[in-house]
């Protein structure tokens, strides 16, 4: 049976610029986000949050709040099981409501459920908390310099959450053999996701002692698992439903205080409870981009080839672990996937501070090193007299090989991406030749298509799908994947429709409900299209096999002669001989009984055999190249990008419209990070916890974006597809920095590139000093002795497409 040919022309649905299946609901206001749920008798909850960045809790008195008319329940951490939790098994350091200590402004200490939001808020104001202030540690330097003030008792040293050191091959020797060695220091300020939707959760702990939670979460499965632990309730009695998410970008990947408090309040007051965060609370909830200080030492041959790299990163983690251990490894993992780095050493440390915890934001841990590497490459190109595009071209990773740190790379479209943006932007004509104040910059990147390992160790599928067909001819897809606007529901519909030879409109998708849908790990690491998509294809192919068998029997042919296309199942060699899809389903159900087929996906097991080898592996990697053209106002220091060209190796564009949308959104978000977005603090307090003051680009600051899609048809991807949602963000930020240098000769080695930094650089330039603005010092810190691992650089990729559950 075959509905799938080799070439593009064989596809019926794949490759078409179709609207998303939920587009109509979204343009009519019909989509129900978590805060749009209004249940009968529903109470409204509010959290009381710490006003201090670091303090011991002496006591909490809730009596006055309880006495307020209209209040149904008031809880503190003592009303919850005394168990700490965290998204990663190695960092169980969070409490929904802090009991003994608060570690940041915004830590929740109590929660109220009341008849309405206003009453709930008034009740929180009546709760009396006695704090004993502790010294706040607000920066990496401060946290390392004051070991006597410990934010947590665990970790790899006082206020050091995680310290890692890995060496793949003899880096000293490689640097010694280089013609040119560069050492550079960079800083990437933290920033936040700023989803348009404020997080919301509705919990209903019913009289049957079963709990249902509707939440704006990107990971209903992990929330499901962790709620059982946090609330000490059997997991089968909990149902988590991810409502359509109004923007995630990584900010809705952890279990949060408001979700847990809503559940417990509902249990106590016997009503559904809704908690919606205010915008200010969203800034505290955070889990966004880590501020990262970086030192990078790279050896180059005269022809521009990299001989080896030594990379150090210090991450400002904030008050809790969150995904931080993974973030730390990610700052070191993908340097080798983007370019050829034959030997490589990585040292990284994540430090606790009294700020909202950082975690995964679009690109998770990789935009910061990307910025450092790409800016350094431009400096090296200048030093070697090479075109920045050429130095990158000379360091392309060979397809189907392993990297120094044992990552398996499959298809590599980066060369074509570079050529395409160079061509489209007029790079050769413009670079170094635009009038002063106008510049052009280039940078590249690689990114995972799905994390190769789960957050908790297991041998089960990372994604599961059930496709069922009923005698009406209707097809339903059940999958735990969570649509956060990227279109994952639509992709499932397209792929199932493609395999079954029907239209996406004929497919209904039911997603992200732990009672009804097989587990998918969640919308993170750009994993859903590849993992849920591959599982969906498998499920649909199995279903098609059953139906085709019945059709073949009726037509008196072999099942292998039957194809599914254009809403029919028919004999490929004799297309008139066939039946409409609905009739085929009836034949299938008559032969097999109920038609429902599962599909499972787990990535190939390729993690390097060393500690830390679990972060970085992916079935395949996307590649992007980006050129930014920008104007720099020498008087004000304002940088205005005027045009952006991006070429993205998507493997295959399952729907070019959706891919473009992901690329454009990535470029926009990258520009915001490059030029204005920053999560900064003063005297222990968030400086700008509002949408007005936290600057993000509007229509006026977002330039025209020219997207070029490069298809490499990766054997690991569903019909060859790779990711699009994160990779294209990465090169934008260094491309802006490189454009600023091209425009005015100022190197801003610090993100965001705000006007004051540009002006400072221009001042230095006028004084005849090196026109560089960026970090001058590195923290005093000793990394652990490196774990020595042999470099796997250049070894052929093994076991491509050999993975669990594949047959």
């Amino acid at each position: 049976v075959s509905g799938r040919g080799a070439g593009k022309e064989r596809f019926s649905v794949v490759g078409r610029a179709l609207p998303k299946i939920d587009a109509w609901a979204k343009v009519t206001g019909d989509t129900k986000y978590a805060d749009d749920f209004f249940l009968p008798r529903m109470a409204y909850g509010k959290l009381l949050r710490s006003p201090l960045p670091h303090a011991r809790i002496r006591g909490i008195d809730t009596a006055r709040a309880r006495a307020l008319p209209g209040v149904y329940a008031v809880i503190t951490g003592r009303d919850l099981p005394r168990v700490k939790f965290g998204i990663l098994p190695v960092s169980q350091d969070e409490e929904a409501l802090c009991v003994e200590r608060v570690r940041m402004v915004g830590d929740a200490v109590a929660a109220v459920a009341a008849v309405d939001e206003e009453t709930a808020e008034r009740a929180t104001e009546l709760i009396e908390v006695e704090y004993e202030a502790l010294p706040p540690l607000m920066s990496i330097e401060e946290a390392l310099a004051r070991p006597e003030v410990r934010i947590h008792e665990y970790g790899d040293g006082p206020n050091v959450h995680k310290a890692v050191s890995l060496e793949f091959g003899d880096v000293e020797a490689a640097l010694a053999a280089a013609d040119v060695v560069r050492e550079d220091v960079f800083f990437f300020q933290g920033n936040t996701h700023l989803p348009m939707e404020q997080h919301a959760a509705v919990a209903w702990w019913g009289p049957d002692d079963k709990l249902t939670l509707w939440s704006s979460t990107q990971t209903p499965h992990y929330v499901h698992r962790l709620l059982a632990k946090i609330l000490d309730v059997p997991q089968p009695h909990i149902r988590v439903i991810a409502a359509p998410v109004g923007g995630g970008f990584g900010g809705k990947l952890d279990p949060f205080a408001h979700e847990i408090a809503a559940c417990q309040l509902s249990r106590l007051c016997g009503r559904p409870v809704k908690i919606t965060l205010t915008r200010e609370e969203v800034f505290y909830t955070h889990r966004g981009r880590h501020p990262v200080l970086m030192w990078i030492k790279t050896g180059f041959q005269r022809d521009g080839r990299i001989t080896g790299m030594h990379f150090r990163s210090w991450l400002d983690g904030g008050a809790y672990g969150s995904y931080g251990v993974a973030s730390t490894f990610y700052t070191g993992a993908l340097q080798t996937v983007t370019y050829t780095v034959p030997v490589y050493k990585f040292e990284g440390a994540r430090v606790f501070t009294n700020k909202p915890p950082c975690g995964p934001k679009r690109g998770h841990g990789t935009p910061q090193p990307r910025f450092a590497v790409e800016c350094q490459l431009d400096k090296a190109a200048l030093q070697l007299g090479l075109d920045p595009a050429e130095i990158r071209r000379r360091n392309l990773v060979r397809p189907f090989t392993k990297t120094a740190n044992h990552l398996t790379v499959t298809t590599v479209g980066l060369g074509e991406c570079i050529d395409r943006v160079v061509e489209a932007s007029g790079w050769r004509r413009k670079r170094g030749a635009l009038p002063r104040g106008k510049g052009i910059g280039l940078a590249c990147s690689a990114y995972l298509t799905g994390a190769g390992t789960a957050i908790y160790w297991n041998d089960m599928p990372h994604s599961g799908v059930v496709v069922r067909a009923d005698r009406s001819g209707g097809v339903a897809v059940l999958c735990g994947a969570t649509d956060i606007g990227q279109g994952s529901d639509s992709v499932l519909a397209y792929l199932v429709a493609e395999v079954l030879g029907i239209e996406p409109k004929d497919v209904r998708v039911h997603a992200a409900d732990t009672d009804l849908t097989p587990v998918d790990l969640g919308s993170y690491s750009s994993r859903v299209t590849l993992m849920a998509g591959t599982a969906a294809i498998q499920a649909a192919e199995r279903l098609r096999g059953k139906i085709a068998e019945a059709v073949a029997k009726k037509l008196g042919v072999a099942p292998g002669e039957i194809v599914a296309r254009d809403g029919r199942l028919f004999v490929e060699e004799d297309p008139d001989k066939g039946v409409p899809f609905a009739e085929a389903v009836v034949l299938g159900e008559s032969m097999h009984g109920v038609l429902a087929s599962p599909g499972s996906y787990a990535p190939p097991k390729r993690a390097g055999k060393y500690k830390g080898g679990g972060v970085g592996p992916s079935p395949c990697y996307s590649y992007s190249a980006c050129v930014v053209e920008a104007d720099v106002d020498e008087e004000t220091g304002v940088v205005r990008p005027t045009q952006v060209w991006v070429a993205h190796d998507i493997g295959r564009a399952l729907n070019p419209l959706l891919v473009e949308g992901q690329v454009e959104g990535s470029i926009y978000m990258g520009l915001g990070e490059a030029l204005m977005e920053e999560q900064v603090f003063r005297k222990g307090v968030h400086k700008i916890p509002s949408m007005l003051e936290y600057k993000s680009p509007t229509t006026l600051e977002t330039p025209e974006i020219h997207t070029i899609l490069v298809e490499t048809d990766d054997p690991e991807g569903p019909f060859g597809a790779k990711e699009a949602g994160q990779g294209p963000l990465l090169p934008v930020i260094p491309a802006v920095a490189n454009a600023v240098y091209d425009a005015v000769g100022v190197r801003v080695d610090e993100v965001p590139i705000t006007p004051d930094k540009v002006v400072k650089g221009l001042d230095l330039q006028r004084q005849g000093k090196p026109a560089r603005v960026g970090p001058e010092r590195l923290p005093v810190f000793t990394f652990p002795a490196p774990r020595m691992v042999e470099s796997a650089f250049g070894q052929p990729a093994e076991d491509v497409a050999v993975r669990p559950f594949a047959s």
């Binding site: 610029a17 179709l18 609207p19 109004g246 419209l657 949308g661 978000m669 229509t699 006026l700 974006i705």
Partner: protein, 168 residues
Amino acid sequence: VKTLVTLTVNDEEREAYVPVHKTLLEVLREDLGLTGTKHGCELGECGACTVLLDGEPVLACLVLPIECQGRRITTVEGMAGGGRLHPLQTAFAELGAAQCGYCTPGVLLTAQSLLARSGAPTREEIREALAGTLCRCTGYTKILDAVELAALRMSGRGASAARQGAER
């Protein structure tokens, strides 16, 4: 103190008995069940709650219902008429201008007001008009494209543009 307000929402007369300080945003969502209007900040900063008041965009989080009595309020639920979507809604759906969709109602209504004023706005004029409605997903590109496509179709020059639009 509660008061009875009478509002004309999407050409229907609606009544609500609400505290005088409750915002139009809250009344629309909580009392009238019109949850298509979204909130992103409740401080007048993000544009997500934009509705039309006598055809002009206003931020529902900064408007009190008592100010709106006797005036026409249009929410996203009122954009489609007689079972037909507004051309902006169709264009937004076809071109992928709504990703997470959370800013979409506010953007659509702001664009509707623009197209009512100016039949064939330039891309720069569209940028100006939409500068107050933040979107974190799309990079605005497909939003601008969709407003242009809708304008083209509404001007009557859009017969071929309709066919050229993405497949439905």
